[in-house]
């Protein structure tokens, strides 16, 4: 096998490395900087050059080697290259070739373009290990433009009513994607420290984002009437957000497709916007790889594998701790 599933994560025996391992290993290939993929404690890291600054910011002083998209590395007996996954800036799929057999690990991905990421590229392979966070037919995304218009309309109406707009989004990826879609003409955009720190790093890499105002303890909310405040979801419910009153709360995520999830979070508005592929995106991506063997991971793996088998693939859900089915996780 080119790749194996070990307790620490996906392992390549020919190159003696792991991909996104969750326990400390010697050599780790990292698809992107979200916490459930880029973990602490590995001896050596390899990631894309675009992903590197955020990883250094999050993981501190690590031994990190970088490659450009498409650049080939020989690691032991394996030819390895990273390819755009379209999930967040710098996110990658990992292509591993050993003796002519090609496996691809998708990492997290979305197939539709946004304004910040290098667009997803299908990579031909024999075996495809694919995430399937939203691998059910109920998950289909509206167009980015439609959701952006919905968010801007909500913000505009709030601003006109003298209400703040508190918008929850993960600080790496979703927050910047939203920034690129917000209409700065409505009112000022304020940011939580966690969002602003990531903004600073991406701006430093030359990624253009609209002007934002960092919410510091000294900031007077009254000086920014009608502002939209971008913060990690956890901050919306706490003391931090209380200085902005009255406020309407919103959250942008693929999970907002489900009313139950929206209602449980007691939000005023849920906006459907995901950095993961939807049902049709997953199915197209899988088809475009030309792979016969599909290993669904991260999501409704059993259901998705059964569907793929009926569609004529040879699909096996990835066993072990991969059975995330994790809900509302980083970057969804």
């Amino acid at each position: 096998m080119v790749l194996e599933f070990k307790p620490q994560g996906i392992y390549c025996p020919a190159g003696d490395f792991f991909i996104d391992p969750w326990h400390p290993v010697d050599r780790a290939l990292i698809t992107h900087g979200h916490a459930d993929h880029a973990r602490e404690g590995h001896n050596r890291y390899l990631a894309t050059d675009i992903a590197a600054p955020v990883m250094r910011h999050r993981l501190g002083d690590i031994t990190l080697d970088t490659v450009a998209y498409g650049e080939v590395r020989e690691i032991g007996g394996a030819r390895v290259s990273l390819h755009p996954a379209g999930h967040i800036p710098g996110s990658a799929q990992v292509r591993v070739e050993v003796g002519g057999e090609v496996w691809v690990v998708s990492g997290d991905y979305k197939t539709t373009p946004d304004r910040l990421c290098t667009p997803f590229e299908p990579v031909r392979c024999h075996s495809f290990i694919t995430e399937c966070t939203f691998g059910l037919p109920v998950f289909t995304w509206p167009s980015e433009a439609d959701t952006a218009a919905e968010i801007n309309a909500w913000w505009t109406a709030n601003a006109a009513a003298g209400t703040y707009s508190l918008l929850g989004a993960y600080s790496l990826g979703k927050a910047q994607r939203l920034l690129s879609l917000l209409d700065p003409a409505v009112a000022p955009i304020l940011t939580h420290g966690a969002v602003e720190a990531t903004n600073a790093i991406l701006r430093g890499q030359g990624i253009a984002l609209p002007d934002t105002i960092h919410v510091t303890p000294e900031l007077d909310p009254r000086a920014h009437p009608g502002a939209l405040i971008l913060a990690p979801p956890g901050a919306l419910a706490g003391n931090w957000a209380r200085r902005f009153r009255p406020a309407s709360t919103g959250f942008a995520s693929g999970w907002m497709r489900l009313r139950g999830v929206r209602r449980r979070r007691a939000l005023d508005r849920g906006f459907v916007m995901s950095d993961h592929a939807d049902w049709s995106g997953l199915n197209e991506a899988i088809k475009d790889t030309g792979a016969e063997n599909i290993y669904p991971t991260h999501g409704y793996t059993d259901i998705f594998a059964r569907w793929l088998n009926e569609e004529g693939y040879n699909a096996k859900p990835v066993p072990t701790e991969f059975t995330g089915e994790t809900f509302e996780e980083d970057g969804a």
Binding site: P137, V138, G260, D268, Y300, W307
Partner: protein, 530 residues
């Protein structure tokens, strides 16, 4: 249907009651009368008759979406709502429409006598004309159940705002067995002679649970106490030579409790009594389980009538000689009730629920401790001076229930919840130990915090031993304290017992599996309280 869908969406998009009321009032201001009438009906649990089975809807939706039925069925528990699952699964619509809410409901009603091909064609055609939000509303009409965070009270308040009518008077008008087929908006809401309906019940006065010591209520002499019975709250109406029995959920139950027909032999016309329907052994109420056998049966077999005859334990008089007494003080209403019932023989199907005398709150606490011996689940405490409120209003009526019975049990199965709790494991089956076995004895769904549900959900996902459809067998590891209000023998259950109102009181992180209670413990509780 666009305006109604916008209303539904607006209500769904906010958690603030004021915003919901405002959206509803604005809708009532502008919608046509026929749509208003249906809206009132839908938000007071009067949904149109279901003309298509949900099984068919699932099959058609899966077919239209081009996915196998099993995949649709797997998606349903994750979404947690059938109407929504269908709306999310269907491909985008190709057309639009301008038909009203009433027009769509008429279309659906016309399907009652149509053949299956026509039904299917009509539904598929409807889906193809609607966007996702509208489809959800339409599917809710098809599947019934319009729970969208609009209580009837809130709807009534919005209607009062829009019409300028008194809220309590409107609440009364909306009671009873009307449907949009049998009345008009004008007759229901605007007509002067709204009392036309002989059978119309009064809105039930509801109590709050007492959360502090009763001393906080002040002077004991200003309060009255009664047993809190474990039966079915009911309103008995004697008007125009007829009698009607209503449940609190506004089900007309007259035929289910034929014993109460004899009330006409004992009580004058123009009488309305509030009380508790209980199964009666001649001297005291039988356990709720006996009454349960009669619930849901439209007609009652002779054997049940003999084994579990019912009476009404009366505790309030709402109407006397056709006069509405609700504004009078409870003490006055209660005195009139006792006068009315005082002379009746024991064979009458209406008995007075006795007042429990007490001088001090300490006296009352002693009575409460004896509630189970009296087949009651606690006490009701009512302000002597209080009127009979329409609905739930804090201050005059309190329920002071007994502390629940409890047992420590092991979680063995888990299932995902619905609606707001979709995608969380919230429905659990619990077992007691019996030798080396675990004997399931109850399910419970409530009592944990959202944070605890999230925690147990993560655990369930990692500790699933086996799946049976949506049900997962989990590693028997976690012990929960299960609280319940009553227990009785039940041959239908493997454990031989059934519990009343079981819920999770506490997650006993401190208790290992071998300290959970046993089947013998459970049987001991049954012997004592069953």
């Amino acid at each position: 249907m666009k305006a109604f869908t916008d209303l539904y969406t607006a209500i769904d998009q906010t958690t603030k009651t004021t915003a919901k009321t405002k959206a509803l009032a604005a809708y009532f201001d502008t919608a046509p009368d026929t749509d208003k009438l249906w809206t009132i009906a839908l938000f007071s649990s009067r949904r149109p008759k279901r003309t298509i089975t949900t099984t068919k809807l699932r099959v058609w939706a899966a077919e239209r979406a081009g996915i196998p039925l099993w995949l649709f069925e797997e998606s349903y528990p994750i979404v947690g709502d059938l109407a929504e699952t269908i709306a999310l699964t269907l491909p985008p619509n190709s057309r639009t429409h301008n038909a009203s809410l009433t027009a769509w409901i008429e279309t659906l009603r016309a399907l009652d006598h149509a053949d299956e091909d026509t039904r299917k064609a009509t539904v598929l055609d409807a889906w193809d004309q609607m966007g996702a939000a509208e489809r959800l509303v339409f599917n809710k009409l098809l599947t019934g159940g319009f729970r969208v965070g609009i209580s009837r009270k809130l709807m009534t308040r919005a209607l009062a705002q829009a019409t300028g009518q008194d809220e309590a008077a409107l609440a009364h008008r909306l009671m009873g067995d009307w449907t949009p087929e049998t009345t008009t908006y004008h007759a229901l809401i605007e007509a002067q002679d709204a009392a036309a309906s002989l059978s119309r019940p009064y809105p039930f006065c509801l109590a709050y649970g007492l959360e502090q010591a009763p001393e906080a209520l002040g002077e004991p002499s200003e309060w009255r106490a009664e047993w809190k019975w474990d039966g079915i709250r009911g309103q008995l109406i004697l008007r125009g030579g007829e009698h009607f029995v209503w449940s609190r959920g506004e089900d007309l139950m007259t035929d289910r409790f034929p014993e109460l027909a004899r009330a006409r032999d004992f009580l004058p016309d123009g009488t309305v009594i509030d009380g508790e329907i209980v199964a009666w052994d001649g001297a005291a109420p039988l356990p709720f389980n006996d009454l349960q056998k009669r619930i849901g049966r439209k007609t009652v077999p002779k054997k049940l009538l003999k084994d579990a005859p019912v009476i009404l334990l009366a505790y309030d008089l709402l109407e006397e000689d056709g006069e509405d007494l609700r504004a009078r003080p409870f003490a006055d209403r209660r005195a009139r009730l006792d006068t009315l019932l005082g002379t009746l023989p024991g064979t009458a199907p209406v008995h007075s629920s006795p007042l429990i005398p007490f001088k001090t709150w300490g006296n009352l606490a002693e009575s409460r401790a004896r509630a189970r011996d009296n087949r009651a689940e606690g006490l009701m405490i009512k302000s002597a001076a209080g009127p009979y409120h329409a609905g739930r209003k804090k201050g005059d009526w309190w329920k002071w229930k007994l502390d629940p019975l409890t047992i420590d049990a092991v979680m063995i199965y888990a299932q995902q919840g619905h609606g707001r709790r979709a995608n969380l494991f919230t429905d659990f089956t619990f077992a007691v130990r019996h030798g080396n076995d675990l004997v399931p004895f109850t399910k419970a769904y409530s009592g944990l915090t959202d944070a605890e549900f999230r925690q147990i959900t993560a655990w369930v996902r990692k500790n699933t031993l086996q799946r049976f459809g949506p049900v997962r067998q989990v590693r028997p590891e976690h012990v929960f304290e299960i609280a319940f209000e009553g227990i009785h023998a039940s041959p239908r259950h493997k454990s031989g017992v059934a519990l009343r109102f079981p819920r999770m009181k506490r997650w006993r992180h401190d208790k290992p599996l071998d300290e959970a209670n046993t089947l013998d413990d459970l049987n001991a509780i049954l012997a004592q309280y069953g």
